[in-house]
């Protein structure tokens, strides 16, 4: 597979090597810098490793560029660190869609095309996210599915926008992401405002809970959702009796729950992810607090039930779109995904839909050129496994259907679907 590096690459390495060698030689001779670096076996090995890595990279770059019938699509999410399980899930969702499309055969512009999914790890770090975004742009991707976190998605979106490459985030919910005026930024997930609004009204109007305690994990996601929830709940006439905070690494919530217990709320809302939501629910039961737990998409996962066990029974959480089992193709997706990658962690269906939405726009535009298919992407009208996907002017999904689920007999059962006003 390794093809000969192009002239420019060869030139670069020869030039750089000569320059370094020259400077090194001169400094050794005249600056008496022998002590600085005595070449030893280790240096040789290190240099060889670095050189092979770089050459391997160049060989790859060169090799793929000649293949005209390949469409490159990027997938970015944290694949290491505390959120790696969610990141891998997103990648798997996109991977399943791409493999299906490839297997079915994709023809665009009269040519048979093959999609190459390039997956990168942004470590959920905003700084690495921009570097990775640039790397994908360099690599010639025509569309990106990612990133996972709002904090990584927002700075990366500037780079995709400058390059004119469409980006669909399967999971970023911060309002700011699509509020930057970029025509390349899309998401197939509702934003905090849409979901927080539905949850707030549901808690007060449907569940009839008036005394509400709110906990969030101080991440962009948790805080954003909790604030929007608080706004909507207050507007609907509820009283927020306690506002407590935790972090996205915590497992001990006894102290804040004890403080909440003193205020005896009807409902505890948690803005955060399942690894916190599950022990929080357990500890809440352990302290004998008799309140409904309500959460957002970060909590509506099989993982939550697995980790909280019997204590999860009766708790409610929402997820954007419609119930997977009720959707055409939803059950099939779930079976295929589970058979290949194991249980769905959370956002894989959204990444799966994002990949199909991108390819759908390319098909309609009959082109893989981002400039040509971007206008078609905005006109998307696609029936996915998470719902009917249309974008508004900003790039948010319109209608913003949100489905509420309750844990019954150890599984999430859909309660009802609410269409938000935004």
């Amino acid at each position: 597979m390794l093809k000969k590096p192009t002239a420019s690459v060869g030139f670069f390495f020869t030039g750089a090597a000569f320059m370094l060698f020259g400077v090194y030689g001169i400094s050794r001779k005249y600056w008496k810098m022998e002590y600085v670096l005595k070449p030893t076996l280790i240096h040789g090995v290190l240099a060889a490793i670095i050189a092979t890595l770089l050459l391997g990279a160049c060989g790859k770059r060169d090799g793929a560029a000649k293949d005209g019938d390949v469409i490159k699509i990027g997938s970015v999410s944290p694949l290491t660190g505390p959120q790696a399980h969610l990141g891998k899930d997103n990648e798997n969702g996109a991977r399943l869609a791409v493999d299906e499309i490839n297997a079915a055969g994709l023809v665009i512009g009269g040519k048979k095309m093959h999609i190459d999914l390039i997956s990168e790890d942004d470590q959920a770090d905003p700084k690495i996210a921009t570097t990775v975004a640039q790397k994908l742009v360099d690599n010639g991707v025509v569309g990106v599915i990612g990133h996972l976190n709002s904090g990584a998605t927002i700075p990366a979106s500037t780079i995709y926008n400058n390059a004119g490459i469409p980006q669909i985030s399967p999971s970023a919910t911060a309002i700011a992401y699509t509020a930057q005026g970029y025509n390349t930024a899309f998401r197939v997930m509702t934003n905090d405002e849409q979901q927080g609004h539905v949850l707030g009204q549901y808690a007060v109007d449907k569940l009839g809970d008036k005394k509400i305690a709110i906990i969030d994990d101080r991440t962009a996601y948790g805080q954003g959702l909790a604030d929007e929830f608080a706004k909507a709940a207050k507007a609907a006439g509820a009283e927020v009796v306690a506002r407590e905070y935790t972090t996205d690494r915590s497992t001990d919530f006894m102290a804040i729950l004890t403080a909440i217990k003193a205020k005896s709320p009807d409902l505890v809302f948690f803005g955060g992810m399942d690894p916190q939501a599950a022990p929080l629910t357990k500890q809440l039961k352990q302290l004998g607090i008799n309140a409904q737990v309500l959460g957002g998409d970060g909590m509506q996962t099989p993982e939550y039930i697995k980790l909280a066990g019997a204590d999860a029974e009766g708790e409610i959480a929402s997820n954007p779109g419609l119930a997977l089992d009720a959707m055409p193709g939803g059950k099939a997706f779930k079976d295929k995904f589970t058979a290949r990658f194991g249980p769905i962690q959370n956002y894989a269906p959204y990444a799966y839909d994002a990949a199909y939405v991108l390819v759908d726009a390319m098909k309609r535009a009959n082109s893989t050129d981002p400039a040509k298919y971007l206008p078609e992407l905005r006109k998307t009208d696609y029936q996915g496994v998470t719902g009917h996907i249309r974008f508004d002017q900003k790039g948010d999904v319109t209608g913003g259907a949100v489905t509420l689920y309750q844990v019954k007999n150890g599984a999430w059962q859909p309660l009802e679907t609410v269409h938000s006003k935004q």
Partner: protein, 309 residues
Amino acid sequence: MDIFVQQIINGLVLGSVYALVALGYTMVYGILELINFAHGEVTMIGAMVSLTVISALVGAGVDLPGVVIVLFGLLAAILVCMGVGFTIERLAYRPLRNAPRLAPLITAIGVSIVLQNIAMLIWGRQYISFPPILPQGRHQILGAMITDVQIAILVISVLLMLGLTLLVKKSRLGRAMRATAQSPQIAGLMGVNANTVISLTFILGSALAAVAGVMVSAYYGLAHYYMGFLLGLKAFSAAVLGGIGNLTGAVLGGLLLGVIESLGAGYIGDLTGGVLGSNYQDVFAFFILILVLLFRPSGLLGERVGERA
């Protein structure tokens, strides 16, 4: 009042876990003056190994009481962690015994990254849940709730701490450890094999970390390959608070830190009239730590090494 008692109980349970991990930090520091940054990851390995064994036993339908199954998991975790601790010392710290002070700190961070990623490769990126096999009884004490697991954590921690203190104060090994901590050279002249003592210290500390790991995963019901970092950080802070290198100090520091965190999260809002909330829980804990160190620069029970350093 019942809320206050509850917060103290919360703090003591959390604190006793911190204390067990802090003992590992402090033992190593006492002898080598080395911050073993990878110690938190050993705790994580302990939790992971025990969960694997427990899940396997539960999955195989072994008809034993939950406590016995957990004991099997604990035993496996202790053995594996002892091996891990020994290997870390042998490969990453011993070659640097005479190197500049900060060099082992970097290898410690390297070991920590390596252990995390190996755990990720073995156990995957998902959270692993603890099977609900332990008794779930709840008891009322002065209006506060306490569960069987919490009582078990408190009792086991106290027993282990007492055992360790006895070991260090009374046994031959303990005497050798104290001698090595004073001066490895002179201890060597007195017939103490410093390398063996250091290896044993790491093994002991890792065994305690394994116990702490199992307790944490049983208490919170989950384990994850990234869980060691935060726990290690907290335990390290606890060891410093108590005076690093001092066993009683580590226990005191751990318990204090747990109680401070608990009370901080519970009462910081009332103390500041609602301006600061439980989001400043860690600020509160660090603030007290700094305050203590301002008045006692070597921690609560630490000896004054100021002029020697």
